[in-house]
Structure formats: C-alpha cells, structure tokens
C-alpha cells in the first residue's frame, strides 16, 4: 500500500510543474498531510544522494525533474534474459519496434529470435498484433520471412500513443529511446517548447493536455529519428478555418515547428503544423479566459444536453446547472475538437474516478453515449467520460445538502398530507422524507436516520433526539417564519459540528 501511495504521489507530481500543496496531495491520496510528509521523506531517503521531491514551507511539494530522471535511469534494470518475459511483455516489445520504425521491414528472427519461443507462439503473437493494429486501421504485413506495419503516419502515432504510452513522461522517454543521453536531451527540448507555448499563449497547459502534447512531440521526434523521414499521409491542409479561427495558436505552431526543424535538422511536412494546431486547439488553454458569450453555439448545445441528461437522474436533479455550465463548456470545447480530430487523452485518474463515483460515472457514460448519437459525434471513450464526470462530481459536491423533514399528524393521513403540499410549495429546499402518524414516530425515525427536523401538527409527548417543531395545519405566516428560523438554526449548528 505504501508503495502504491509513493507511486501515486510521484505520478501526481509528474503531471504538475509547480508546487502542490500538502492538502491537495492528502486529498488526492486520501491520507493525512502528515502521512504525505512522511511519504515524501521516505521517497527522498530511498534515493542515492539527492532529493527528488522538493518541499517548501507554505508552498508544498514539487518534483525535481532532473533528479527524478537520473534516478529512473539508474533504476532502469530490465530483465536481461528476454526468454523470461511474459507473452504480453514480449508482444509489447515487438509492437514497439515495429511501430516506432514502420514501415521498416524485419526478418522474423530479428524480432522474435532472442525470445527463444516456438513457431506456434510466434504465430499467436502475429495474430494478437494484427488484431490490435486493426483497431488503428493498420495492418501487419508478412511476405515470406519479413514482417512490417503498413499504415498512415497519423494512425501509427495513434497506435503508439494508445498501446505503448503511459502518462509517466519519464517512461515515455525510456521506451522510445534507449540512448539515455538523447532521451534526456529530447525531453528537455520538448519541455522547453512547452514552456514557450505557455509563454506565447499566456496560459498554462493543464493536465492531461500537457501529457498529451508532450507525447505528441516526443513521438514525432522519435519517429523522425527512427525512420529518417515521416510517412506522408498525403494530407495537404488547406487555408483552413482553424488557422483563421485561432490565429494566435497558428503562430505558436509555426514557431514550434520551426524550432523542431532546427532541432532535427529537417524539414517536417506541412501537415505537422496542422496536427500540432489540432492538439493545441484541443487542449484547454484559456489564453486569458473565455467569456460565456464567446462559447460557440454547438458547445453550448452539447453542454446543455449533457447537463440535462445527467439531471434526469433523480439523484442528480439538484445540481446547480448554471454553475456547472461555464466550467463544463470550457472543457467541452476542446473535447469536441479532439473528437473531430481523433485525438485521445489519457486519464490516469480514471480508475479512481470510477471507484469514487461509480453511479455518477455510469450516469455520465449513458449521457455521453446519447450525446454522441444525438449530435452525430464520434464515440466518447471512458477516459474522456472520466474527465466529464469530474465536473459533475464537483457540482454534486457543491450541491447544498438536502434538509430532511419528517411530517407528523395524528393519523399520518390527514393534516400531515396537507402540510406536505404546503411545505413543498413554499419551501423547495426542504426534502420531505415521510408523513407519519404520531404513534409511529419512534420507529419511523429509526427508519429515517437522515431526518433533520420533525414537523408536527400535534403535540408530541415523547422526547426525541431529532429537533421538533409544532405548527398548525394552516401553516400560518408565523409558522412559516418559525420553520425558517428552525431550519437555519439546525443548519448552522450542523455546520459548526
């Protein structure tokens, strides 16, 4: 468990470039801030001669990227005996080599020889690889003793991102580039370019888009290194609307591609500027903030549809739609762009989101399925659904806790019903849990432990732990004021506890 906590802590800090408060980390891990401090101390103590997590009073914790890389390099001991790898690890290795160097052809022996496995095992590997590649519109070709991957550059990179990349930027570097010197240099170059993008856009690239962009640039560089040139998809971007719509992003992209050309001493295809543009436009970079009026109509409709669908579920009816709308719309705008351009984002919090909000996740998943059908969009995967769920989860948590009232009259059938109708009409924030006969109050309170207040039209002889209020069935103005005061008093008392 401690190892998992340490791993999660490092993963979280890897995605953040500035200091993160102890409180935020404790929330994320579900442990106390003291435990966070203890974990950081243990992590640092395990390093040879350096600190990988820096701490500063009042600011929190930050990962020392350089030290972390150094430690990862030292600890990167892969199994020396390839025959010890599992079939999944073996296919992963073969896939990585084929994808990174596609369309380079390999003799079967070059790929599988070192694993010392039977022909039937190789045959199973080929079948498995073909199946995986087919999902990315790629084919595994075999002529005689030679195999290679055929497909477009975009599809190859999508496959690399999806099949091989994790959101740990350090391991992205490790798996793609075995020469650690080059690996570190490439990573540093990309970090520099990302900072440049942020400077030019006057905005931080938030997680997970930072990982997404890093991965995109890393794969671009490594593919170029491996292949020497990039497969020409035949794509020729027109004077696109996108550049006109986002001239600022277009300028940034041209600058980054120029830098890449210099760095690689190459002339990257024009389409790379376009792809980079898609990535940036699909990231949530506010660039000084978007006012509600600037949200396009399609984004508004899509966002409203989602909120309406989720609020169909009685449990989520109380969500404050207006509050949720602006935040979610800002997320949906780049999401629609990602869907349009087939850009996928990784969500390393997905399992945690599913675990913490299982019901909400399912409701959101149903809503996004309906959304795709309704608006003719590409299917929205679980990773994206997870991000959307977080917005709803926040809205759910912001929702005021319902105030539960149990209504009592002599029979439970008469004035309690009258009162119910009047209270529902005049006090929408009160939730009536039941209407009961005075003689049944004790067992009913046991059955409804959520009750905050008992409102009765008949005097109650017994004493109950739950506060009570006697009103007339007329629910006079005076009764209403007393009820309001009582609710307020209980809420305040509740808040103090």
């Amino acid at each position: 468990m401690v190892i998992e906590y340490k791993r999660s802590l490092i993963d979280y800090l890897l995605n953040r470039r500035d200091f993160v408060s102890g409180a935020e980390l404790s929330d994320m891990l579900g442990v106390s801030t003291k435990t966070v401090a203890r974990l950081v101390k243990q992590i640092n103590a395990q390093q040879d001669d350096c600190t990988i997590i820096e701490s500063q009073r009042g600011r929190g914790y930050r990962l020392d990227y350089q030290n972390y890389f150094n430690q990862m390099d030292r600890g990167d001991e892969r199994p020396s005996d390839a025959s010890q790898l599992t079939s999944v690890e073996r296919r992963d290795e073969v896939m990585k080599r084929l994808l990174m160097t596609s369309p380079q052809q390999y003799r079967m022996d070059e790929l599988w020889g070192r694993f010392c496995i039977s022909d039937s095992a190789i045959s199973s590997d080929l079948t498995a690889l073909r199946r995986m590649l087919a999902e990315f519109h790629l084919t595994l070709e075999r002529v005689g003793d030679c195999v290679w991957i055929e497909g477009g550059e975009t599809d190859i990179r999508n496959a690399i991102t999806d099949l091989l990349v994790t959101d740990d930027v350090a391991s992205i570097g490790r798996f793609m580039q075995t020469d650690q010197r080059i690996q570190r240099r490439d990573a540093a170059f990309i970090q520099h370019e990302m900072s440049l993008v942020e400077d030019l856009m006057h905005s931080e690239i938030p997680y997970p888009y930072s990982i997404n962009l890093f991965t995109h640039l890393y794969i671009l560089i490594e593919r170029y290194r491996e292949v020497g040139s990039l497969i020409d998809d035949g794509f020729r971007p027109q004077e696109s609307d996108e550049s006109t719509r986002h001239p600022e992003i277009a300028r940034v992209c041209e600058k980054v591609i120029d830098d890449l050309n210099l760095y690689l001493d190459a002339k990257l295809p024009e389409s790379e500027t376009y792809y980079l543009h898609q990535y940036l436009a699909s990231s949530r970079i506010d660039g000084g903030g978007v006012t509600p009026d600037e949200i396009p109509q399609q984004v508004r409709s899509v966002t409203q549809y989602l909120i309406d669908e989720v609020r169909r579920d009685p449990y989520y009816q109380g969500i404050d739609a207006r509050e949720l709308f602006s935040g979610l719309a800002k997320h949906m705008k780049p999401l629609l762009n990602r869907l349009e351009n087939g850009i996928k984002v990784r969500n390393n919090l997905l399992e945690q989101i599913k675990l913490e909000y299982p019901r909400l996740f399912d409701v959101v998943r149903q809503a996004v399925t309906g959304l795709s059908e309704h608006f003719g969009l590409a299917p929205i995967d679980d990773e994206e659904t997870g991000f959307i769920t977080v917005y709803f989860a926040q809205a759910v948590e912001m929702r005021p806790r319902p105030f539960n009232v149990l209504l009592v009259c002599t029979t439970g059938l008469g004035t309690a019903q009258l009162l119910r109708a009047k209270i529902q009409r005049r006090f929408s924030e009160l939730h009536i849990v039941a209407t009961v006969a005075s003689r049944d109050l004790k067992p009913e309170l046991k059955a409804h432990p959520e009750t905050d207040l008992v409102v009765s039209t008949v005097g109650l002889t017994e004493h109950f732990k739950v506060p009570t209020l006697i009103v007339s069935a007329m629910l006079t103005i005076e009764d209403q004021e007393r009820l309001e005061r009582k609710v307020d008093q209980i809420r305040k008392g509740d808040a103090l506890q």
Binding site: T410, T411, L413, G414, T415, A416, Q417, L418, L419, R420, A421, K422, R425, A437, T457, V458, G459, I470, S472, A473, M474
Partner: protein, 146 residues
C-alpha cells in the same frame, strides 16, 4: 369511505359550545353506525383538541380521531348555525371537518384520504370548505355522500 354533510343541524338542540358539539357528534356517529361507543369517541376527539390546534383556516376546524371504536373511515362536515366561541380562543368557528378513522385503514381508503387532504392544500378547495354552500361542500368531498 363514508362522507356526511350536516348543514346547521340540531333542530330542537341548540349547539352553543364545544361540549355540546362533541356530544352531538357522538350521538350522530352512534346513530349512523360509525361507532359503537359515542362517548369514547367524544373523549378521543377532545384529547386531540387538547393536544393542539386543529384549525385548517379561520372559522374552520378539523377535529379528528383514530381509534378502535370507529368502525369505518368517515368524513363528517358540519356547518353550525352559530359559531362556537370556545372552540379556539380568539376564533369563532362554525365549520368542522370531522375525520374519524378506525385503527386500521384500508389501503385504498388511506389513499383517498391523503388525496383529499392534499387537495384542500389548494386555496380554492380550502375556500370552498371555508365559505362554500352545502352543494359546493358536497362536490369536493371524496366519495359517496349520505
């Protein structure tokens, strides 16, 4: 469920106070077979009044009882000729919606009673009970009238 409307009853008896009305109701319920023990019913009604105000509106009270002596669920609306000054201090009440229920109320009857009480939460329906004439009162009571 049984429903009765009695408009200015008491020919020969002048109902002038709370005790007089409860005695009249006890005797009426006995006669109609609503209860086998009118005296006890009157006591139960009085106990309930002592436990808290049963008024539904100015001039309209809702005395009620749920007890083993009640044979069947009954709504009895009584409009008096002269309002009672001692029913509730500070209010003169001339209209009474008696609700008499047995220990166990059949599911469908309970549903009808609930629906009726929710209906009179509506101001228009409540106004009928407060100031409506005999016919209007009969029109909003939930079931067969006698």
């Amino acid at each position: 469920m049984r429903c009765f409307v009695e408009w200015e009853p008491g020919s020969g008896i002048d109902i002038v106070d709370k005790a007089g009305l409860l005695m009249w109701v006890a005797s009426y319920a006995d006669r109609r077979g609503v209860t086998a023990d009118g005296r006890r019913l009157a006591r139960v009604l009085e106990d309930r009044e002592n436990a808290g105000d049963t008024r539904l509106a100015i001039g309209l009270a809702n005395p009620h009882a749920q007890d083993r002596v009640v044979n069947s669920a009954t709504l009895l609306f009584v409009k008096l000729l002269r309002p009672l000054a001692d029913w509730r201090p500070g209010d003169c009440i001339d209209r009474f919606l008696f609700t008499l229920l047995p220990e166990r109320v059949a599911f469908n009857e309970a549903a009808r009673i609930k629906a009726f009480y929710r209906l009179i939460a509506n101001e228009t329906a409540m106004n009928v009970l407060r100031v409506g004439d005999q016919e209007e009162i009969q029109s909003i009571l939930p079931t067969e009238r006698e």
